[in-house]
């Protein structure tokens, strides 16, 4: 099996790519997509740690299950919010949703 540090570098890069998406996308749904990538990077980290470190192997996987479930909840609530914003503001671009700024 390949060394743990390689997987960690990979997940770091994946996380940073997701973060890049979060910080540069204008579209709310695009930001949500990027957040999913970040969550996946974290999940791979959990699995890799639990598989190769000296801990009980279930712990990491249980956390991954929790994260997946939370991601599902996040996605549903966030998309409901997106729909609601679109209905009220007729836009889903984050820099145009500026009702509280003035």
């Amino acid at each position: 099996m390949l060394p743990l540090s390689h997987i960690l570098i990979f997940t770091t890069l994946l996380f940073l790519i997701g973060l890049y998406g979060v910080l540069t996308r204008r579209n709310v749904v695009g930001i949500l997509i990027s957040i999913e990538i970040m969550l996946n990077a974290a999940n791979i980290n959990f699995v890799a740690f639990s598989a190769s470190l000296d801990v009980s192997p279930q712990i990491g996987q249980v956390f991954v299950i929790f994260i997946i479930v939370l991601a599902a909840a996040t996605a549903s609530v966030a998309l409901a919010i997106v729909l609601s914003i679109y209905r009220n503001q007729k836009t889903i671009y984050t820099d145009e949703i500026d009702l509280l700024k003035w």
């Binding site: 994946l14 540069t24 470190l53 299950i65 919010i81 729909l83």
Partner: protein
């Protein structure tokens, strides 16, 4: 015999490179729908990583939940809101270069740290079965499990309440 020692890691590296490329495409593609398609492939690739790490149950759950359910939600949201065919609307804000530089700096900070740290790695890959996972969920993690179900219920009700058009 050696060939397995070669092919396993080689395909692993191949998968990792592919996932990175797909993730970059996901966050940089102008067309949001294509971005969602690339995300679907990324998630399937992550499921394959789980299979490589011998977490088959997680791989199945990943595909079933992420690809089957969350992706569909995302695509629905794109479709219900989008005016994305218009190329005159910029899809990213003006912080692209600073963000890229900052994140590159962060990567240069983190990667040497990861390499430098001495992880207490055990020799063989540890695996666990779905049965053990279920027992862990029902014994050691029963409180978070129940909390998660309450969170899910709350999310369910909240999503319906928010998305409902107020008559």
């Amino acid at each position: 015999m050696d060939i397995f020692g070669l092919i396993g890691p080689a395909s692993f590296y191949g998968f990792m490179a592919g996932i990175l490329v797909l993730a970059v495409l996901t966050v940089t593609t102008r067309n949001l729908f294509h971005s969602a398609i690339f995300l679907a492939f990324t998630l399937i690739g992550v499921a394959c990583i789980y299979f490589f790490l011998r977490a088959e149950f997680l791989g199945g759950v990943q595909i079933l939940l992420y690809v089957g359910a969350i992706m569909t939600l995302v695509i629905f949201a794109i479709m219900l809101t989008a005016k994305m065919g218009d190329p005159s609307i910029p899809q990213s804000n003006r912080q692209r270069l600073p963000v890229f530089l900052a994140l590159a700096a962060l990567a240069f900070l983190l990667v040497p740290q990861i390499v430098k740290t001495s992880w207490k790695v055990v020799e063989s890959l540890k695996t666990t079965s779905a049965v053990e996972l279920g027992q862990a969920l029902m014994s050691e993690f029963v409180l978070p499990f129940e909390l998660i179900s309450i969170v899910l219920l709350a999310a369910l009700i909240g999503a319906i309440a928010i998305a409902r058009s107020d008559q």
